[in-house]
């Protein structure tokens, strides 16, 4: 299979270099060619890209691949295939597996499995605490040496403030961010959805915005105290955006992410007890969405991450209170995010930056999320105008759990190239010799 390509006539957008022009992108033997080269050095194929966007491969800083332990929900093989279909070439997987990724052997397993069965790059995130129990620190030095790119107990917040302080302090040696799932679980109290009139009508216990915001505030104070790198996962409320804005203005080392669903869907999705709309943090209100978009535009929120959380169909086919939280996001991410572009709320370069150069900056990689000459050829080609209906039976992911099933999205990935290899192609794309 060739690793050389001439991608012809697309709109090339590379926020890492401020590039946005129509032209050809040349890939020679799996690497981005220098701007002077007009054709690849080796045998190559042509991808006609007129009317399409050509950008660095998307990087997902937050997903769940479920392996080891929950292979009925997802595996590294199915998860990376789903990611490739969504235009991702690098995904960072959360350590809430069974066993959890809290030691070198577990990280080695992920890397070996990703090499063997993954179609794109998988960067593991290691646990903050041993066994994700929130009691004592995991061996963060060993995890760093094994290749984790961040620490997190995601799925569970770090409730113990002293442990969070210790994690931040200890992480400074390795320079890796500590990611917190901010939720005061005493306050959220097994809540099922956003607290408000809709929860009242449905008779479901609500999760107040303050359950997130109080822990964001705590973490920001601890980041300030320690000087360590803090990353806030899946910001969902207006109040959290304001807290992060203030902290950034004071110079706190904090980065933050928002998911496609928190940017585009409201709590109304839960109506009718739709367990596929049950997610943690819960879908919020129109007002929160507006604040999140504003935060994204103004660099308060640095990146978009999917929090892809696949579940088996049977897991969600039950009473709302018994259903696990999570949405399968990889394959709908771009389509739902493009709504923000079509509605004039985000520009394409801003959206792409939040999926490419910005996560690369958090991962601290100058090879990822860029078309700099010599960088690995990780490329996403998408049609911003293509409308398609979400049919979960076509998902590569084992997780069919999405409230978007059956809805029409505008914006579709046409091809994904990872290290020069074509790992996904829409049926409509015809390659030329």
């Amino acid at each position: 299979m060739t690793k050389s390509w001439l991608i012809q006539g697309g709109r090339i957008i590379d926020p890492s270099q401020g590039i946005d022009h129509v032209g050809d992108l040349v890939v020679s033997d799996g690497k981005i060619s220098s701007p002077g080269e007009t054709t690849p050095k080796a045998d190559y194929k042509v991808i006609p890209a007129e009317g399409l966007i050509v950008c660095p491969g998307f990087i997902d800083f937050h997903c769940h691949l479920r392996q080891p332990g929950f292979e009925e929900k997802e595996t590294i093989a199915t998860g990376t295939l789903a990611a490739a279909r969504g235009g991702f070439t690098t995904v960072c997987c959360m350590p809430n597996t069974d066993p959890p990724l809290d030691n070198q052997a577990a990280i080695d397993y992920i890397k070996a499995e990703a090499d063997a069965s993954g179609v794109i790059s998988v960067l593991p995130i290691g646990c903050i605490s041993k066994g994700r129990k929130g009691e004592g620190l995991a061996e963060m030095g060993e995890l760093a040496a094994a290749g984790v790119i961040a620490y997190s107990d995601d799925g569970s917040p770090v409730m113990n403030s002293r442990l969070m302080r210790q994690a931040l302090d200890y992480s400074r040696t390795f320079g890796l961010p500590v990611i917190d799932h901010c939720e005061d679980t005493v306050l959220s109290n097994d809540g099922q959805m956003n607290e408000g009139i809709l929860a009242t009508r449905l008779g479901l216990r609500g999760i107040p915005a303050a359950a997130e915001e109080s822990m964001v505030a705590r973490d920001l104070a601890l980041a300030r105290l320690t000087g360590a790198r803090l990353h806030i996962a899946h910001v969902s409320t207006e109040g959290s955006v304001e807290l992060i804005r203030c902290a950034k203005e004071k110079g706190t080392r904090v980065t933050a992410e928002v998911t496609p669903h928190h940017l585009t869907l409201t709590e109304e999705e839960v109506t009718g007890y739709n367990t596929n709309a049950k997610v943690s943090p819960p879908l919020r209100t129109r007002r929160d969405i507006e604040a999140l978009i504003k935060g994204l535009k103004e660099n308060v929120i640095d990146i978009i991450a999917t929090d892809h959380a696949p579940h088996a169909e049977i897991d969600k086919l039950c009473e709302f209170a018994l259903a696990p939280s999570g949405i399968s996001v990889f394959e709908t991410a771009l389509g739902s995010l493009m709504k923000l572009v079509h509605d004039g709320q985000l520009t394409l370069p801003t959206l792409i930056a939040r999926l490419t150069s910005e996560p690369a900056r958090i991962i601290n990689s100058d090879k990822l999320g860029t078309f700099k000459a010599g960088a690995p050829a990780d490329i996403t080609i998408f049609d911003p105008e293509r409308e398609w209906v979400v049919d979960t039976s076509n998902f590569a992911s084992k997780g069919k759990n999405t409230p978007l099933a059956g809805s029409t999205l505008k914006g579709k990935v046409m091809a994904t190239i990872f290290h020069g290899k074509l790992v996904y192609k829409d049926d409509s794309v015809k390659l030329e010799q």
Partner: protein, 335 residues
């Protein structure tokens, strides 16, 4: 009377002024009152009037639902609701099967679907369901062909209770529109309160909710434009002022343990419906309670058994209302 129709069919007893017929009835299931019109609620009343007539006969049985199977599926302990439905179904000559599930079997998600599969295979025509989790009857309604009647789900809804409450009020009050109802107590955890808010406001009544803020569901005090005719008054004397209908709710002892109340003693002090407080209401005010009562906690024994109380009538009317609903649903079509 046309020939061939059984002469004790209660349909024939529906009064001629009945505003609707079952042919304009929109529901295949009874899940909540949020999508009921006042006309539909009145149809239930008129049908229940006919059923009450049946209940007054020496032999309280008509053959209307002969050959139909009604399953009751209770995932929570219940005496009056289950027995009320069972009697209602038997009075209409339906076959009744009771399925009770222990609390432990609901901890695994599959159990509800498994049980529904079984009911589907057994060919139940109507399923009365009580479940500790809000929304469970909606899953059932999506999953099987039978009509689902919500017998209470979590904190969400208890539509047949609200209908029998409304029916009881209607028997005493000529005009429901403009009546002031006060609901006192643990509204946060109460499906009865939620369904009554829908039902009472649909019938044009004004509802005042009276409870400590820790037992008030979020959003009702700030966004009540979606619940018109609902107001909040935490002071019981002020709430009861001029009330036509007073409903007080059972207070679970666990509410104190979970910190929502400082003590049961203080709750009694602040929120018990007693004779002195009831004097603030109109002289002909009705007192309702969905039961089971904690006499001496949310309601004083004097009020529970006093001249304003219609609590015993609620129980009798429950059977008539449930007969009416089974009868109407038997003629409904799956949408």
């Amino acid at each position: 009377m046309t020939t061939g129709q059984p002469k004790d069919d209660p349909a024939l007893l529906i009064k001629p002024e009945s505003p609707m017929t079952t042919s304009t009835w929109q529901h295949h299931h009874i899940l909540d009152l949020d999508d009921f019109t006042s006309g539909e609620i009145e149809l239930v009343y008129h049908t229940a009037d006919a059923m009450k007539e049946v209940l007054s006969r020496p032999i309280r049985k008509v053959p209307t639902l002969r050959g139909k199977t009604v399953a009751t599926m209770f995932y929570e302990p219940s005496t009056r609701t289950r027995v009320s439905f069972e009697l209602a179904a038997k009075n209409l000559s339906a076959d009744v099967v009771n399925i009770s599930a222990t609390a432990s079997s609901v901890t695994k998600g599959e159990s509800l679907i498994d049980t529904l599969d079984t009911l589907q295979s057994l060919g139940a025509d109507m399923v009365v369901m009580r479940h500790p989790f809000s929304g469970a009857p909606y899953i059932a309604a999506r999953y099987i062909a039978a009509s689902i009647i919500n017998g209470g789900d979590g904190w969400h809804a208890h539509p047949t209770q609200a209908l029998l409450d409304l029916y009881t009020i209607r028997e005493h009050k000529k005009e429901m529109k403009g009546l002031k109802a006060v609901i006192i107590g643990d509204i946060l955890h109460s499906r009865v309160a939620r369904s009554n808010i829908w039902g009472m406001t649909t019938m044009g009544m004004n509802v005042t909710l009276c409870c400590p803020p820790t037992l008030l569901p979020v959003g009702l005090d700030t966004e009540n434009d979606r619940f018109p005719r609902v107001s909040i008054e935490p002071n019981i004397e002020a709430a009861l002022d001029g009330a036509d209908v007073v409903m007080t709710l059972r207070l679970q002892k666990e509410r104190q343990q979970s910190g929502l109340l400082p003590s049961i003693r203080e709750y009694i002090h602040l929120y018990q419906l007693n004779e002195a407080r009831l004097n603030k209401a109109k002289p002909d005010a009705l007192v309702l309670h969905p039961g089971p009562m904690n006499e001496g906690i949310e309601i004083s024994p004097g009020v529970a058994h006093g001249p304003h109380s219609v609590i015993a009538e609620q129980v009798t009317n429950g059977v008539a209302i449930r007969m009416a609903l089974l009868y109407i649903l038997a003629g409904s079509k799956k949408q």
